[in-house]
């Protein structure tokens, strides 16, 4: 396993959904303090799903490429799906990540958890009452 699959380099060079939304429903920032990586994630939510998403931040290629790829993965998804999403799904999509860099790769995942938590446990913006059942 090479630590930098072409996919990572491609997303690092051409990040998707990078920037900010004019009127986000969620706007959270998360950091990997020891390495100085910072990630801001914004979501526009409609009918219980992610209608639009943007990320911004600075950090290593793995965390930033992972963020770019992750925005593609979560865009259009229902919040209830995101709430049960496992971190392995992101790692697999990245093509595997070497152990010392797991924290970098999972920064977007942790940021999304924070975003979901800030939306409340359930039932916001039309999310169904039975979201987690």
């Amino acid at each position: 396993m090479s630590p930098y699959e072409d996919l990572i380099i491609e997303h690092w060079r051409n990040p998707r959904n990078k920037g900010t939304l004019p009127d986000p429903d969620v706007d959270v920032t998360e950091a990997n303090v020891p390495c100085g990586d910072v990630l801001r994630l914004q979501l526009k939510v409609r009918d219980g799903a992610v209608e639009d998403v943007r990320f911004d931040g600075r950090g290593c290629a793995i965390s930033m490429a992972s963020a770019s790829l992750f925005t593609e993965m979560i865009k259009g998804k229902k919040l209830e799906e995101l709430r049960v999403m496992r971190e392995e799904e992101l790692l697999e999509a990245l093509g595997g990540v070497i152990k010392p860099r797991l924290k970098c790769a999972l920064l977007p995942y942790r940021t999304l958890q924070k975003a979901l938590a800030s939306l409340g446990p359930r039932a916001r913006k039309g999310e169904s009452e039975t979201a987690r059942s």
């Binding site: 090479s2 630590p3 930098y4 380099i9 690092w12 060079r13 020891p34 390495c35 100085g36 990586d37 950090g59 290593c60 290629a61 793995i62 070497i98 010392p100 860099r101 970098c104």
Partner: protein, 404 residues
Amino acid sequence: MRNVRSDFPILGREINGRPLIYLDSAATSQKPRQVVEAVARFYREANANVHRGLYVLSVEATELYEGARKKVAAFIGASPEEVIFTRGTTESLNALAYSLGEARVGPGDEILVTAMEHHANLVPWQLLARRKGARLLAVGITPEGELDLGDLEDKLSDRTRVVAVTHVSNVLGTVNPIPEISRMTHEAGAVVVVDAAQSVPHMRVDVQELGCDFLAFSGHKMLGPTGVGVLWGRRELLEGIPPFLTGGEMIREVWIDRATWNDIPYKFEAGTPPIAQAVGLGAAVDYLVELGMEEVRRHEEELVGKALEGLLSRDYVEIYGPKDPARRGGVVAFNLRGIHPHDVATLLDQEGIAIRAGHHCAQPLHRLLGVPASCRVSVYVYNTVDEIEAFLDALDRVWESLGR
């Protein structure tokens, strides 16, 4: 310098299918067979506790341990009773900050550190200042990454009790002018504590020439084992400060309600010391003496010169610290424009090249440099010009894949 590579078995390793190029000796050095063998031989043939036994084996172990102390003392121009074995630089500095603080620092006093200190020579003084109601001040650095002696002059006063300064910065590589700092500090009536973790392994260090009062360094950064380090102090100062740890050989007489202390250096060596490690450190000192510290320094200057030249010629690289190898120790810290140091280290590791990336336990310095982290290469006796060139070539490949 003679080719020493065959003395270091680990250099025969392959990493990710490539021959290991080890450029992280500032973190810890590799060990020659002579040191590994000295430790193994101690355990095989002479292992016993020291200073206690009346039997042959204990006498032999004690002689080996004390022999190591004499070697270390001669290596830094000190007398053996001024050489205290500790677990390493960090322990030496923590112990000293405690003991010195108890004896010499009170409310309203001032302690000076510098903006380029390793956390090990910063945080113990922070705690001391807080404990005693003293003030901690940091001497600044110039844009070239050298200590601002004018600022030191300004900050020294009759309230100054301690100046704690690194001999060689583990990030900038800067060699600080300790003799001058000692003169200035003594004029103000304070004592000088030198963190020599990055100097003693790499250049001739003589405590009399430095003129300092205390000096700390680690065995594992100078070809020796982990778990042993040194605190050197002037005899009259060591005699005037209390011990840090108590129990074991450091005691002379004990009653239920009180105790008296042994002579130096034993007063500061509580409990069973790192005996085999000290013996290993003695072997490391023998090895360095045989190579000659002037030769070691010359060899590193050549390697650092090559690294600096190569890095300076790449416009995507930013270097921290002095640009002249003669003003530097064996480390060079740098960044690739827009690329996180962790990416650089991971990609180089793919090619078997081990470098450091992070804040190198010097967060205040990195804050001053305006970067969260940096890459660092550091060299030692076993590195070669070819390795530096291989590192520079690999850096171009990192830039090709991640530069933008």
